[in-house]
Every structure is written in structure tokens, then in C-alpha cells.
Point group: D2
Chain length 333, copies 4
């Protein structure tokens, strides 16, 4: 059994807790949250030791994995500590909102030969992931275009939005990473982005955007398009299209169920899309844990790394710069 200490017991932390608890290879030993009441409640639920001080987990030689699901500003410190103590680290995205802090961390932890898996869950989604496999098999020949549609059912609360880092760092960062996932031996070279607010004018006040679109170009000339929206009336719209010299691959949406309705005015009417990211990516979150287990036991490199987190953040910063300067920004990693 792999012993785990879980940091952060909010919505996503609890979900990871459930999955770790149910997973045959993990033993959830410690749980920690700055909210002590929450910490105790969750510890009872999963039968863990609730700790007040992260050090307890770091110093426990039986702890194999430090699982970071706490708020973004705490990530880098926890990574620093955990790598020092030679733990395998799982860290939720994003690493941090400040690329400088991430770069310093990168330098600092190098000497510990760090083992860090990043929480880019979409790489693990059975649909999105199978596109990569088909691409590698050569099903569509040479990759020429990547088109990603990502629309949340509804915006998070305004208080969250204010500290989120903006649509590029908070939301589109998933899509930047997904593009790099498909590019493989190629890399993002430039970006252009726009943002606008058409329906929900609250975003103007916090200098953020409900709608954003980007065009990225890879070193090999692959054209990548991302279109994001903070709202989507028909559910959680998550699609990927890969176009190549010999074909096209599409990873589509998941509906509430597989029924269709035919009436006088319309046919083949399907149910709305799954509305919640935890439902939509339920399998991805589980497969992510399987990989964490392989990483811990067999040292099999995970498909999502610290460096992937760093690069996605660099692209997000370039997206913001492009929006301000109204021009193409060259990416430097």
C-alpha cells in the first residue's frame, strides 16, 4: 500500500480523498486543511489522522506520496518541502500564478531529483487521451490543426474570479497544456489572443473576460485554436478536434444519458451535457491516480509533469501580453 498525506480538503481535495480512499493501492494516512473543523470531519469520514502541522507528514518515513490539493498560493512551498523529504508529489494545477516563483522552485528542487505529477486531468480523460494514441498510431497522418472548445456551464463566484489569475491562467491553462500534450515532439512557438464580455458585464469590473479565444502556432507550423467561455447554457462543453494530412479525430461531449427524442418540430434531440467537471472527468481523475501509483511504485514517468505546469503558465502569461499589446507574442520557455 502507498501511504498518502492529503493537503487541502476543499471541493477538489475531498474528491481526491474519495478516490484515494476507494483505490486499492493507496492508504490515505494523513489529511490536512487550514480549516480545522473541516479537517476533523473529513478525517473521520476517511478514517485518517488529521494533522495540524504538515511537518508531521513530511517527517513520517512511511509517507510515500504528498498530495497537494490546497489553494494555489500554497503549492510551491509544499512542493519545496515535499521534494526535500524525497516524497513523490502530486500537485493540482496551476503550480502558481507567478512564473518567477515557479522558476525559482524549479532551480531549488533540482538537487532533490524531484518526482512530481501535475494535475492536468484532461490528459487522462479516456476520450482526449485516446486521440493522442490514435495520433501516434498515424491514423490521421501529419498533425496540422488542433482545435479545442472549452466552456464551463457557469462562472465561479465573483470572489473566486477576483483571485483566480484571470481566464488564461485559471481556465485556458488546461487547454494550453492539452495542446502541448498533442504536439509531442513539437512545441508552441507563438500566440495571439482576444477577450471580450458580451452578456455578463460583471467581468468588466474585475478586468477579466467571460469569452476568450487564442490562435497558437507551433514550431512545425501546426495551427492551434482555443475557444473558451465561462458560461454554457447546455452544459459543460469539452471538445477536441485534431486535423491531419490523412484525417481528423474528434473527442466529443458526454450527455446525461444516451436517449433521443423525436417530435413534430425536431428529431434526435439529446439530453443536456454533463454539467459538472467532476462528473465529466470522473474517469480521468481515477486514471490519474493509477498513474500516480505506477509512478510511486515503478518509477514510471507520468504524462503530466512539473515542467508541463511551468510551460502552460508561460503560455498563459503570453496570452495576457498578446491581449494587451494586440499582437502575436513569441513564446520563450
Amino acid at each position: 500500500m502507498i501511504n498518502v498525506a492529503l493537503f487541502g480538503l476543499g471541493r477538489i481535495g475531498q474528491m481526491h480523498g474519495e478516490n484515494l480512499h476507494a483505490h486499492k493501492k493507496f492508504n490515505l494516512k494523513y489529511t490536512f486543511d487550514i480549516d480545522k473543523n473541516l479537517s476533523k470531519k473529513i478525517s473521520r469520514k476517511f478514517n485518517t489522522i488529521s494533522i495540524d502541522n504538515p511537518k508531521i507528514a513530511f517527517k513520517d518515513k512511511n509517507i510515500d506520496v504528498v498530495f497537494i490539493a490546497s489553494s494555489t498560493p500554497t503549492h510551491i512551498n509544499l512542493i519545496n518541502e515535499a521534494t526535500k523529504y524525497k516524497k513523490v508529489v502530486f500537485c493540482e494545477k496551476p503550480l502558481d500564478l507567478d512564473i518567477k516563483k515557479v522558476n525559482i522552485c524549479k532551480k531549488n528542487i533540482k538537487k532533490f531529483n524531484p518526482k512530481i505529477q501535475l494535475g492536468f486531468n484532461r490528459r487522462y480523460d479516456p476520450g482526449h487521451n485516446s486521440l493522442k494514441k490514435d495520433l501516434q498510431k498515424g491514423t490521421i497522418g501529419k498533425l496540422e490543426k488542433i482545435i479545442i472548445t472549452s466552456r464551463d456551464p457557469a462562472p465561479p463566484p465573483i470572489n473566486y474570479l477576483k483571485v483566480s489569475g484571470g481566464i488564461f491562467k485559471d481556465m485556458m491553462i488546461h487547454d494550453f497544456d492539452l495542446i502541448r500534450f498533442y504536439l509531442q515532439n513539437d512545441e508552441v512557438d507563438s500566440i495571439y489572443s482576444i477577450g471580450s464580455n458580451v452578456s455578463d458585464k460583471r467581468f468588466n469590473k474585475i478586468k477579466d473576460y467571460e469569452l476568450a479565444s487564442c490562435i497558437l502556432k507551433s514550431k512545425n507550423g501546426v495551427q492551434c485554436i482555443i475557444t473558451n467561455s465561462r458560461h454554457c447554457s447546455f452544459g459543460y462543453d469539452q471538445r477536441v478536434e485534431l486535423f491531419g494530412s490523412n484525417g481528423m479525430l474528434i473527442s466529443g461531449n458526454k450527455n446525461e444519458n444516451e436517449t433521443q427524442t423525436f417530435t413534430k418540430n425536431s428529431t434526435s434531440q439529446k439530453k443536456p451535457l454533463l454539467n459538472f467537471f467532476i462528473d465529466r472527468y470522473v474517469d480521468a481523475y481515477k486514471l490519474q491516480l493509477d498513474e500516480l501509483a505506477s509512478y510511486t511504485i515503478k518509477r514510471k514517468q507520468p504524462i503530466s509533469s512539473f515542467e508541463d505546469g511551468r510551460r502552460a503558465l508561460i503560455i498563459a502569461n503570453a496570452a495576457s501580453a498578446s491581449l494587451k499589446e494586440k499582437k502575436q507574442i513569441k513564446i520563450q520557455f
Copy 2:
């Protein structure tokens, strides 16, 4: 150019007239209808000679094809005459409602080595027809099941229904023929049928059915299911499913256009199905004419023959018998 005499200028006759007129290989020379005014009107439209007496066409040595689109009771006589004069004959379905008359005709015309193409338009539909080709290529291995759904948008007028011969001879005859089309070297062996009226009780009065279903079994054990309805709120529902040892083939419906609507309550909502048989089978009617041209010029056997018409009628009679006797009826051709 192939010279044609067209008999019958009702709705379907006019449609054939349009297609013959537009076809590069046909010259529509004579048109005939018992309604003389209609006959004159249509003759002006297509620039044909309107004739009062069918004999004129039969005796004209330049006439290659006699095209029969008149009412059902006139078919057999016109076939008798046309074959005597060595014309190539195209005849709309059904041959007749009385199998005895058809059998006598079969005997009578044998000596003329008749050339007759029957108007089973669905055999020519690009979708339904491509299933046959895929079946022959072995795409789905051994054929095991044929499932046909056929639903008209709305019932014809009650006066038509009264003389239609009933749902099996008037409507399901198309499906009986389509089953034989896919069975190829196999043949229908038995049938069981039911009929009922759930919503439109007018059918009770004329001793006919708005809903009918059949199970047929072939000599090789292929199970065939037909489901018919005289009404269909969402359009003209025309589907074929072939199930085999290695796969399945489906020929689906045609929608008004290829758009989809996504809203709060439903997704992927398509437009209604094409509502009218002439729209739905527009390509089939044209391909039917192409085959008539090949038949006339190159003596290439058409895929739909007099014997196909005769056998479909025999099955329709067996369907009626099964319904009455509440048991399986063995088919004898």
C-alpha cells in the same frame, strides 16, 4: 434517344414525366391520361403528343419504352399489350391487387420474352442500395437479421385507403420487396403479422390498420422484422438495419437540413425528417431511370422485375392470412 410513352399523369406520373423530360437519354414522345384536360396540360408542359388511345403508342415502332404510372387496376392490361408489341415496360408497384390476374399475365406474356422493370424505388435509394453492396462485399459476414422501419408522415385520404388493398398490399409491399432484395440467393419462407389501431380509429371502419408489424423467416433462418405506421409526427421514417455475424449496416433517415440546435433543455436537436416520399426518394427515382435506359439500350437486367412484383404480392397475401388465422403462414411462390 429512347422514345417513351407515359401512361398515367397523376402525382407520381407527373414526377416520372419531369424526370424523363430532364433525362439525357429519354425522349418523352407520348403522354396519356383518362383525364383529357390533364393530359393536354401535361403534354404542353413536356412538349409531348397527348394521345387518346394507348394503341397509338403501342403501334408506333419508334416507341421503345412504355412507362406505366396509371392506377393499379390498369397495370396488367397495359403490360399485356406492351409486351405483345415488344416494348420495354416500366410498371409502377403494385402489379395488381389480385394475385390470380398477375399469375395469368405471367403465363400469357411468357412467349413474348417480356422486358419489364418494376417500380420498387427503394431498391434504388443510394442508402438502401449501398447496404446491399456492403453486404455483398462481406462487410458484416453472414446475414442474420433484417429490420425495416417504414412510417408515412400521414395517412392518405380515406377514399384512397378504401381501394388501396390494405396496409400489406399498399404500403408494406415495399418492405416485403426490400427484404427479398437483401436476401439474394435466399428466399422468404414464412410470415406472421399483426395489425392494430391505437390512435386513428377510422381504420377500424374500413377494416384496415394504421399500425402493422411482421416477422418473416427465410429458408436459411434469417429473421426479418417489419414495422409500419400510417402516421409519423416527425416525418417520413425510413430505416433499414442489417445485422450479420461480423457487424451491422444501417440506412438512416434524411433530415430537412444538416443543422443542430443546443439549448438549456436539449442538445444535438436536428430538424424534422423529409416529409414527402418524392423528396426522400428523389435520387432513387432518377437512378431507376438510369437503369431503365441501360435495360433498353444494353439489355442489362434491372434489379427490380415483374417476378419481384409478383412475389411481394404473394407475401402480402400471406400477411393478411396470418393476421386472420393468428398463426405463421408458409409462403409458396
Copy 3:
């Protein structure tokens, strides 16, 4: 917590064990199997008391639910005992292969005011179940046709097939039940059935069928079609179509994932269907347990009862009779 004793630890028993173990409202206390080694192994896995004698569970006043997942011939005896001890009973389908035993049981247990939920899992499938809700809402007007396609990916082992009771009692019984589920205040009135073996001739030897089809008619004239196959190359084909005076509802298949491939020769190519009934009906099995919990705690009547199991078996017997006698069989419940 609801205390449960689980009988039968084969494939389906273990699956129920997993679900009961994971369910928040159930405490899996006892497990029993005639294979003692298996019993011990599973008891360790789920941390239960492995019992040698079912009586232990029946006599334990803390046991609320007797969960029967053992082999078919043991069902009736366990029901007799469990109802005597006032337990809530969950019983897998079919109740038994012999309708006489079922009828006697019905009489015997009546005095105990039995609480029995039957394992017709498909009634709980989110897709199939939502069709019923839409039907009740009047989405398609009056129900006129029910068409069920049910094809297993591959036949069970021949040894299982020999004692299975045949395709009607073992496989199509699910579909007979589903038809009754949709008919609601209506009831099945007559049936006609055929069976045949086209590809897998082993079925001839055991006097069973790889392919079967039925037409049933309800008292109100609803036409019901079932088509079964013991094999299906492209996965587990499970579809329901409800046709009504104002529309149509379809519950479709589940694919391995939501991807599509477009290449030179084909477009919109999807992945194969889910191949295993436990994967396909994973949600149904969980929802079934939710209902069992409500039944136990709140006495809320489940949607699948002993009487449903008895009636499905009567229809299956009628299907066999029809096949032998080659005629429509009137159903008497």
C-alpha cells in the same frame, strides 16, 4: 445502516458485494457461498462474516435485507425462508425456470406480506428509465410501438447454456419485463416467436437458439417487437425505441468513449460499444441499490417486484410454446 446478508458470490454476487460495500446506507454483514474457499476469500475482501448456514443470517434479528445472487434453482427456497423471517428480499432474475414453483411460492409467502425487489436491472438504467418518465410526461402522446434490440457480445459457455432454460427464459426475459415496464396500465396479451441458428450451429445440439425474435401485442393494441442475438461483433447492443402518436423516444448504446475518427473511406467512426453487462449497466446496479435502501427504510415500493418476475416467466413460457406451435399464443397471468 441497513444490515445485509449476501447469498451467492459468483460474478454477479461479487459485483453486488462491491456495490453494497461501497454504498453509504448498507452494512454487508454476512456472505455465503456453497464454495467455502470463495466464501472465505470474499469475506476477507469485504470484511464480512462468512457463514456456512443461511439460517444464521435469517435468525439474526439485526439483518434487514437478504440479498439473493446465488444460482437460479436456489432462489425460491431462499425467498421462502427470508420472507418467513420478515426480511426484505432482493432476488436476482429469474425467480426460477419453473412457473409452477413460482406460483406455489407466491401462495405460500402471501401470509408473510412479503417485501421482495426483483433484479430487473434494466428498469433502473438511466437511459431506459428516462424513457418511461418521458412517456409518462406525454412527450410522445399515446404509446403505439415498443421495439427492443438486445444483443450480447458473445454467448456464455456451452455448459451454462445447457442449464440456462433457453434464450427466452435466460436472455429475452429482460426484454419481456422491459415491455411490461413501458406498458404501465396496459398488459401483454399475445405473443409470437421465432428462433434460428445461422452462424453458431452448437445451439442446434442443445436445442436452443442464437437468434430469436418476438412480436407481442398488448390489450390496448400496442405492438411490441423484440430482437435478440447471443453474439454481437461490435459490443453489447442494448436499444429501446418507443413510438407514439406524437413522437418517438430512443434509448441508445454506450460507446467505449466519445471519440470519432474521420478518414478517406469513412467519417464519424465511433469506438465499439461497451462490451460487458456490468460496465454497460454500472449505473443501473447502483440505482437498484438506492431503491432497495428506500424500500427497506421508507417502505417505498420498488419498480421491480416478485410479480414482475412471475409475469416475465409466463411470457417466456408462452414464447417457447409459440415457437413450437408456430402460432400466436394468448397470455394468461
Copy 4:
């Protein structure tokens, strides 16, 4: 009958010729092509007067419509002449490759109160057009995003490409126009574009692109994405997606027929897309003529005008500028 003079008898001219010939409201009187043999051949086919000098048509007072399907450099002169003679003009896209010539023409012809319909066929496509209607009905609320995918099955010959004006003026001009069609009372404000050659390196030599993508932003903040490819292995890929505050509308592709294949490795496999623009937009070309007839007879304004042609060209020029300067270009009409 509306008397028409048709200029240009190449591939597209002949197609228009066929449609004009078959249309009930048009009489194709004159045909002209610089290739005199072609001109004679086509004049025999459609039974028209083949003319050597366009003046003959202009001076004929019975000619109502001048139909311009000749090569791009001839368009402006023919428009100048035709408007002077008060003819209704239909002109194929693009108006010209040089915006200066178009602007001068605009000034010159103003005094004649010109009646010009432009050949942006996609506005007339039943699918694309029905999206506009649904948008106007408010089906998706406020328009927020327009996403257009347009991929040709294969590039035109290199000799054509060399004089085509490049991918923006020759191909994407359709999509620029379509965006303006959906924007209605809004207008394109800025554009950013990229181009690249991944598979077909011939495009490098002629300084053109096989792949291009654009992001446009409207004055109201609507984000518009266009993705073009000069090749597409699976057919003619033509899709439009409109995303709004309350929903999404999609206009999808047309397949060769409506069949699906299911085998061991894949399911719901459809036939390739229609491969040829004349097949794909067959209905659009006919509806375009219907509108030309209404324009001529009833002076009903067509949905595609000279000004639409001019503005699409201005956007195409801005796209080229953006690509060179690697920045957002503000559009000035």
C-alpha cells in the same frame, strides 16, 4: 420570363447555365465565352444565341439580367457596362482582387442606381441559412462566437493557385462574408491571421498557404474564428457553429448517403463527405437563382450585395496585412 445573358462558360458558368436553363422563370438568351468553340458548344446545348461581342447583350432591351461567371479580372468592366445599361447584374465572387478597382467602380456606378447580386453561395445554403433564421428568432440569445470550418477536398491546380490572389482572397473570402452575414447589425472590427504549410510544400514556392486560421472580433465583442485548409482527406468539410448566451447552433456536413457501418473495431461509421462544391451547395445555387428572379421581378433586395463583396475583400486584405505584420489589424470599410 426573365431574359438572361450569361458571360463565362467555364466549370462554374456551365453549372449556372444548367440551373438557368432548368429554372422556370429564366430564359437563357445569350451565352458568351472568350473561347469561341466552347461558346458554340454550350450555346447548342442550352439552345442560346452565342455572341462574340458583349455589347449585343447590353444593347438588347429584352435582356433583363447580365450574369457574370467569367474570370475575376473581367468582373468590374462587365459590371460597369451592365449597370450603365440598367441591367440587373449577378456577379460571381470575388468582385476583383484589387480593392482600388472595386472602390472606383462603386463610385462610378452609383449614379445608375445599380442592381447587383453577389455570388456568395453559402448564404443561400439551406443549413447555413437556417442558422441565421434561428439566430434572428432568438433561439440562442445573444450571439457571442462564430466558428467556421472550411476545408476543400484538394487544392486547385498550381497554375490556378498562382493567380488566385492567395488563400484569403480566393478561399477564406467566403468565410469572411459568412461572418458578416451572421453579425447582422454588428460589423467586423479587427482581424489576426496566420498561415502555414505542413504537408504540401508547393505552397511555399508560390508564397501561399495550404493552412490558414483567423480570429476576428466584432464591434460588439463577438469572437469569430475561421479555420481553412486546402486539402481534406475525408471530403468537403463545411461547418458553422454559432454560440450564444442561451445555446448553440451548428450547420454540419453532408455525407454521400445516410448509412452507417458497425464492425468489430468501430461503430456508427458514416460514408465520406460530399466531395465537390457543386454537389455540396447544389441547393444553395438554386435558391440563389430564386432570389435573382425575385430581385429582377419584384425588386426584392437580395441577401448578398456588391457592398458585401467589397467588404469581404477589405477583410481579406487585412488578413494578409496581419499575417505579414504579426499583429491585429483594425478594419476600415
